[in-house]
């Protein structure tokens, strides 16, 4: 994972709440066995509408998505994060993220920046008054800036640290190999095992 401290890019306003992962990427695109190549799948139903925000010229190359509350609800599909990244997004801003989506983002280096809804409204206003305007997300200062506007953002401390260091979760955990083995040694024998198969 590439370390990320700040990101500056064109912001797209997505004025919708409860953007579920079926909207972000419909199930028919989940048949692929790769982690990339999902850019065409992102918001595929909505993108058929010429009025959809990502079909508007200044937002086509957006890398920051500013969305309504409860972004990423529903299915656990990490494909939603892969699709956002493949399209070019590096940051999603919302007042509230679904837990699994937020977790998946953190693992894949997509910044899920939580910003109060009243500040999201200010960002939307600022972007729409100046389409194509850039937003800067600063993980050091934990702030989001758009022109003269700067608002605070929230991100849990551990995810922030991992994003800034670009750390791989599995390597971090394997440093605890001894503790894991010790724990395994103490598990009750009645705990279920899948092997050998019983019938």
């Amino acid at each position: 994972m590439e370390p990320i401290t700040t990101h500056t890019g064109v912001a797209a306003p997505l004025r919708a709440s409860n953007v579920d992962t079926d909207q972000i990427i419909p199930a028919v695109y989940l048949k692929r066995i790769t982690k990339t190549g999902f850019d065409d799948a992102l918001f595929s139903a909505w993108r058929k509408d010429p009025e959809f925000v990502l079909n508007q010229e200044p937002y086509r190359n957006a890398s920051v998505l500013v969305a309504g509350p409860d972004f990423g609800t529903g299915s656990s599909r990490e494909h939603a994060v892969w699709a956002l990244k493949d399209y070019g997004f590096r940051v999603v801003i919302s007042a509230r993220f679904a837990d699994i989506f937020r977790g998946n983002s953190g693992k894949q280096g997509l910044v899920a920046a939580q910003v109060d809804q009243q500040d999201v409204e200010l960002l939307w206003k600022s972007i729409e008054e100046n389409p194509g305007t850039q937003i800067t997300v600063d993980l050091e200062a934990m702030s989001v800036s758009c022109g003269s506007l700067t608002v605070p953002m929230h991100l849990d401390e551990y995810t922030r640290w991992r994003l800034m260091e670009g750390l791989d979760d599995i390597s971090l955990t394997l440093a605890h190999e001894e503790s894991i083995s010790e724990f395994e040694g103490g598990r009750p024998t009645f705990k279920p095992k899948t092997l050998p198969a019983q019938s």
Binding site: P26, R96, D156, F190, K193, Q198
Partner: protein, 475 residues
């Protein structure tokens, strides 16, 4: 010196504490041990590939099991899968299972089925365990008093490599359902009412513990239906404290403990309940006596009302966002505010999904339709949750009831719940569905979904409009 009395803890905290491998310091998450990892074809290939690229092994094949469900056909299951990408995904799971030594139940196998139906029916889902799967409806397994939740593919790979997950503790919320359900009102109606009450984000960051007399009176199937849809309230997990109903369900299941191990296990399982005086971070109370069959009108599972009410007016929605959301939902659903829910005509009835495809669900629906005829211009699809449920239903003659009624009797899988395989709605098609999500396009591009219980699904198939069994008696 005597030990200080232990601090009263909730069920979720008990299970959490017993799986903590390393306690997180300075705001870092805990490292948690995972007892059971369920795999399916859609969210695992990239994780296996990750292991391969890093030269890592699968740490515990004996705590891992795979089945094919999301993308599998529900008819002609022995024919070659026509869609090449779908076939490749299934073949990839089979090859990965072979390479990493994972037990797999493939299409055609007697234990194949929806991952959340298979785990419990094999007796692998047990009280006090931690269960994960790359599927948000893993919350289903919480019905046994397990801490069970969905994870993304990065976490799937993490569990494969380490049998652990880094997790920040969840908050706890009690959902207390007092009283008793009236006839015709089911577990599905409880959970739809809960979601409508707390909203799709209301459970965020929480483990929900369902308790109270109405929950205690539910079968394991009913408890699974409720825990299944915890994610639709935004919660990662839902739990029910294990009791005699749980133990009876598990006894003699293939992977349930045997002999003395059974006794030791039950003794431990009995300790798994929220202590007197334990504090929840939040609590919601519902009265089961006042619940009615519940259905959704919109495009998220929180947009639901009692079946006897009308399509709500967006003007009555709380804030500007909710209003805009409701208007957008009504436009998509092609509904007008004020229309009685019972006048909404459907094209399709889908009985299936990890929410409502177990034997009890099929029995309940069959009992309603038996001896009745399907409404004109309605199609009904019945998709059992597993090959074993299908077999049991056939032994009980339920398949004949469905077929005589004119319903399509299919093989097990996720099917039209998410429309990954050919089982999809057409644009504009309206469906009464026993599944869990009514998102735009969820069951097929342009399809319109009303979430309902198996009883409402069956009554709707008879009348052609959203209906409850009591409407059949009145008519």
């Amino acid at each position: 010196m005597a030990d200080a009395p232990a601090k009263p803890t909730t069920l979720a905290e008990k299970v959490w504490n017993e799986h903590r491998v390393v306690e997180g310091q300075d705001g870092k998450p805990d490292l948690m041990y995972i007892d059971l990892h369920l795999l399916h074809e859609v969210t695992s290939p990239q994780a296996f590939e990750g292991l391969r690229l890093a030269g890592r092994r699968l740490r515990r094949p004996d705590l891992t099991i795979a089945t094919e469900d999301h993308n599998t056909p529900t008819q002609d299951i022995f024919a070659r899968i026509a869609d090449e990408t779908s076939r490749k995904q299934i073949e990839t799971l089979r090859a990965n299972a072979e390479e990493f030594g994972v037990r797999i139940h493939s299409l055609g196998d007697s234990e194949q089925g929806i991952v959340h139906v298979v785990g419990p029916q094999l007796g692998l889902t047990q009280p006090g365990t931690t269960v994960v799967c790359g599927d948000s409806h893993t919350s289903t397994h919480g019905a046994f008093g397990a801490l069970a939740f969905g994870i993304g593919t990065s976490e799937v790979e993490h569990v494969m490599a380490t049998q652990t997950l880094s997790l920040a503790p969840f908050k706890t919320m009690a959902i207390t359902v007092n009283g008793h359900l009236k006839p015709g009102v089911t577990a599905k109606d409880i959970i739809l009412a809960v979601i409508a009450k707390i909203g799709t984000g209301g459970g965020q960051g929480y483990v929900l513990e369902y308790r109270g007399s109405a929950i205690e009176e539910l079968s394991m199937e009913g408890r699974m239906t409720i825990c299944n849809m915890s994610i639709e309230a935004g919660a990662r997990a839902g739990m029910v404290a294990p009791d005699e109903t749980t133990f009876e369900y598990l006894r003699d299941r293939p992977h349930a403990p045997k002999g003395e191990e059974w006794d030791r296990a039950v003794e431990y399982w009995r300790s798994l309940k929220t202590d007197e005086g334990a504090r929840f971070d939040n609590e919601v109370v519902l009265d089961a006596d006042r619940l009615e069959p519940f259905v959704t009108w919109g495009t998220n599972p929180g947009q639901g009302v009692p079946l006897s009410e009308d399509v709500p007016d967006p003007a009555d929605a709380g804030d500007e966002n909710a209003r805009a959301n409701a208007e957008k939902a009504l436009a998509y659903m092609d509904l007008e505010a004020g229309t009685p829910m019972k006048e909404i005509r459907v094209d399709t009835v889908f009985l299936g999904s990890c929410t409502n495809s177990r034997i009890e669900d099929l029995r309940a629906a069959a009992a309603i339709i038996e001896g009745r005829t399907m409404a004109e211009n309605v199609r009904m699809m019945v998709v059992p949750g597993s090959a074993r449920v299908r077999q049991q239903a056939e032994e009980e003659g339920l398949d004949k009831v469905f077929k005589d009624f004119g319903a399509d009797w299919r093989f097990a899988g996720c099917s039209m719940c998410l429309g990954m395989n050919p089982d999809q709605l057409s644009p504009g098609e309206r469906c009464a569905s026993t599944s869990n999500r009514n998102f735009e396009g969820r069951q097929g591009k342009g399809g319109r979904t009303h979430l309902v219980s198996p009883l409402v699904a069956a009554a709707t198939a008879v009348r052609g409009t959203l209906s409850s069994p009591s409407d059949l008696i009145e008519s």
